[in-house]
């Protein structure tokens, strides 16, 4: 089976062990396709309850940006060990909105790699995923627990 070649791959990562496989998959595909690779992290400072005052959330937001920066730096370093020079992008806001905005701002991206989606995120991302399919851009959802062939699950 001939592998599809991509030009610009974006991997949305949350950090953590669960995202490791997603990052590795994106890195592997970028290496095979000789594509540009960008790791994207979205800082979402919203807490489930109104536990804290506004000032505290502002401080927490600054700290979360730091966490995002470290998550991206670690992903970038891991990609470098695989011989892939990756870029990073850090955005702030609702995860689904920011991924959609990034994809809209970067039309050269032809593959979006995501980790396992929770129910809520799956629902909020579904319009974007549908839109990307219509545009002929690829979406790869990497399930952390399964050993999938990357291209077999790439949906277009």
């Amino acid at each position: 089976m001939k592998l599809k070649r991509y030009h610009h791959i974006v991997c949305a990562t949350r950090g953590g062990e669960e995202s490791r496989r997603t990052e590795e998959q994106a890195t592997q595909m970028a290496r095979e396709s000789r594509a540009a690779l960008t790791f994207l992290y979205v800082v979402n400072p919203e807490l489930p309850e109104a536990y804290t005052a506004k000032f505290c959330l502002e401080l927490v937001n600054e700290e979360l940006v730091d966490i995002g920066r470290v998550v991206l730096e670690m992903a970038q370093r891991r990609a470098a060990t695989q011989g892939v020079k990756a870029n990073t992008a850090l955005r702030q806001g609702e995860v689904h909105e920011e991924i959609a905005a990034y994809m809209a701002e970067n039309p050269t991206v032809d593959l979006l790699v995501l980790g396992r989606l929770g129910e809520a995120l799956q629902e909020s991302l579904s319009p974007l995923l549908e839109q990307l399919r219509v545009q002929g851009r690829g979406v790869l959802i990497v399930e952390a627990s399964t050993q999938q062939q990357p291209h077999s699950v790439a949906r277009k």
């Binding site: 669960e18 807490l47 309850e49 005052a53 730091d66």
Partner: protein, 468 residues
Amino acid sequence: MTIGLVTAKVAESGWIGERLSANPSSVLNNTYNAAFWITALVLILVYVLISFEIVHRTAAALLGAVILLVVTYTIGTFNHDFHILSFQQAVKHIDLNVVFLLMGMMILVTITARTGVFPWLAVQAYAAAGGSEFRLAVLFAIATAVLSALLDNVTTMLLMVPVTVEIALILKINPWPLLLPEVFASNLGGAATLIGDPPNLLIGSYANFTFLDFLVNMTPVVILSIIALVMLMRLQYGREYRRLGREETAALLAELREHHRITDSRLLRKSLVVFGVVILLFLVHGVFHMEPSIAALAGATALLLWTGSDIVQELEGVEWPSLIFFIMLFIVVGAAEEVGLIQIIADSVNSLAAGNLIVAILLVLWVSAFASMIIDNIPFTVTMLPVVAYLTQTVPGAQGGILYWALAFGACFGGNGTLVAASANIVTACLAERAGYHITFRQFLRNGVPVTIVSVAIAMLWLLVAGR
């Protein structure tokens, strides 16, 4: 059926609470009328709404208070059986000492947090750990416990967790072996002082315990519990803690110092001076017969004026929903007291204790701990205060206030039992999730239950030995 309860607070000093003072007594004589049943239903409704997070807890308490007052001033005007509590009675039940103390401390923390001192402290802890992850976890836990004793636990965790996660990510380790001891230490440390945890604030204000009473009666147990926590951590995560090389440690330290500096050292100096004076006032407030809220408000006002802060902006740091929650909760539980519902609970606990102090201590301590694992410990404590006041009067040997300390230990330490037992736990889980590290209810339970059992057992031994 006529029921009656003497709701006077404890009188005379005892072994453990030297400054327990006599408060106005009231004998309630109520019947199982419509007002009683409506109040019981409203109290249950508020508990259910809060426990299952159906609505925000402030909305739940507000709804409860409004139902009780509206019923009183509509149907209750024509039929006295529906008269639950008057507006004047409702206002009388609001403990403004608690409300103002919380407000004053929130303003102080708002201004101090802007200096960047909390993440800076975490970096200092990393420097002192000298590359040992276990020592790092211990130092983080101790720093968090000390901060939680002086600030509220949620704020402490909000300021400590991100930098901890960042360090863990750079070290390429799972942050939970660092975060769990931290959050447990936060809940334990909060129990150490009058201002560390809302149940303590409520108990201190209700029973007239001073800051010093808490230092004498709670802090030693908290210190012992933190030592036990460190030992449990060693058992649980011993193999996961590594030792880093000197170069790796130095490189990380340089990076952390670069990102987490004191942002305003002048403001920090002023904050520390004011904080120091407020703590001093807390230590001596009993001597001056000064409510602790006055010290907190004085400190907040002094810092606001000294730093030339914009008061409107700084007041955004006050968690108004929390203050309204407390006010409305006081009204709901006040109504339960007025209609005799609290008396029923007090009588039940009293007959279970059968006049035996040891049984009463065990009951209050363990029931409070288990209840706090499941439900919000603030409404639980507010409900239990008149019950404990009644037991303090009726159980021989309890007059010194030992049952209040049992309630404080149970309500605070129970917060470590489950993921939902304390807001600090939820906030920690939420922030760690942002870095991709999820913890399940079961995983938290597996770690939290041993800590809760051990710390409550230490408190139990302390109370039993000291109570003899």
